[in-house]
Symmetry: C2
Subunit: 260 residues, 2 copies
């Protein structure tokens, strides 16, 4: 299967323009699964909860409709991050396909000021069976908790789709560790650009990345520009957890020796 | 406190020479805690269990006596890896000080052919209170299991001493992730050289490393030569688990959302 990381540069609050930018990048490269950044349609640097409430959408409102139409036309799946209006407002990722919404994930580990506006995720770390394999979802700062990717791997994820808005430098290198320790693929779709709002200037680091179960970095985008990269993956490789004749990276865990 | 990583090049089976090499390096640099490689006194590439039985020692036999005498003379602590003869034979690390054996760790995650000869560790991941802070122990391949360093951090380890015999390339970079995700210091003492025995040629990668809770690599030794490096650490930094005003890297875990 072919997975694409779509690295965009959202303009805060300009939902239609942001969706259009993403779709124009996606038009340029055929893939079976496209992974877009966290909050790709709204931007990130909210001043207050009221502003977020204005921009949040239900899982089936306008952004969904545009992405769903495109996925039907192109017979593909798309993962994108958005502010989800539900019983509360969540920092969510949707997995959609020609058949509609296939799955939702609500960010479990909120970062920094997100804690002021978003409710913490309450759906665990979900995996979904797609025609080409089992896909897990996590968002951005979830990377720093090894429990996130571990949970997804234990549930059978072969590829983790990882919408992100990275401001700290360490995630791209750490995704190599996440792949090695779980023998999974990861596709981290980050954004670029800056958001200078309310006296807070955030600079996003781009560096969107696809990494293999053996830790090989299959593609890494730049730090400054919108871009897309497609890599052909053999997801069957992520089912083989054997490092050598004696070490199975999952079965070799020894919970009786751990402290939790 | 000052921690030293002692990168040696053991000669297989030459215990006295190997201990002497380590002590000569240690003489060259003052430290409060010296960390030596896994199996630093015997070498690594055992052909069969009988060979290991010949070289294994109890926790208080000749290697211990030499190291203990040195630690008394220099008023310091030492962590070293050795083949421990007990009810079974373990791939162990001893923490010794002027007062004697302070602690033992038995490798929980055995690598590759070690599984043929050694019994899996049965002491969990232990931490020890020393005058300068709380020290945890793990050995080599334990690095690939995030549960290892996590267990030690949850038990209060500020610095993880990590005797190693690395043959795969990914550990040094992954130790940065281990430090970031737990906000701890790590000191990985690896060996260099090759062991060509029984048709198996193993090449060890050196690259011994000390990493800070913020992911900074404080020292990294070369890939080929015996060497020692001492770094002054402020272990109090490893007690602060706050990444920003809203994120505490330990308290922010959400076990109810994880799959185990």
């Amino acid at each position: 299967m072919r997975v694409a990381v779509v690295q965009t540069c959202p303009i805060f609050g300009e939902v239609k323009k942001n969706v259009a930018l993403a779709l124009s990048l996606m038009e340029s490269a055929a893939a079976d699964l496209y992974v877009l950044p966290e909050l790709f349609n709204t931007g990130y640097n909210f001043n207050e909860e009221a502003e977020l409430k204005t921009l949040a959408e239900t899982a089936e409102s306008s952004t969904f409709r545009m992405m769903h139409a495109w996925s039907k036309n192109h017979a593909c799946y798309i993962v994108y991050g958005f502010a989800e209006r539900a019983d509360k407002i969540y920092n969510s990722a949707a997995l959609i396909g020609p058949e509609g919404v296939r799955g939702l994930y609500r960010k479990v580990h909120l970062f920094d000021r997100e804690n002021l506006f978003f409710a913490p995720g309450n759906l665990g770390f979900p995996v979904f069976e797609l025609p080409f394999g089992t896909i897990g979802l996590m968002i951005c700062f979830d990377w720093i908790y090894p429990e996130s990717a571990r949970s997804l791997a234990l549930k059978g994820a072969q590829l983790v789709a990882h919408p992100s808005n990275l401001v700290l430098p360490h995630c791209p290198d750490s995704m190599v560790t996440r792949c090695l320790e779980n023998r999974i693929y990861t596709a981290t779709a980050d954004r670029v650009g800056e958001e200078n709002r309310g006296g807070r200037n955030l600079k996003f680091i781009g560096s969107s990345e696809i990494v293999a179960p053996n830790g090989e970095i299959l593609c890494k985008l730049g730090a400054s520009d919108p871009a897309i990269s497609v890599v052909e993956l053999d997801l069957a490789l992520a089912k083989n957890k054997q490092i050598n004749n004696y070490n199975h990276v999952i079965d070799g865990r020894r919970p009786d020796q751990y402290h939790a």
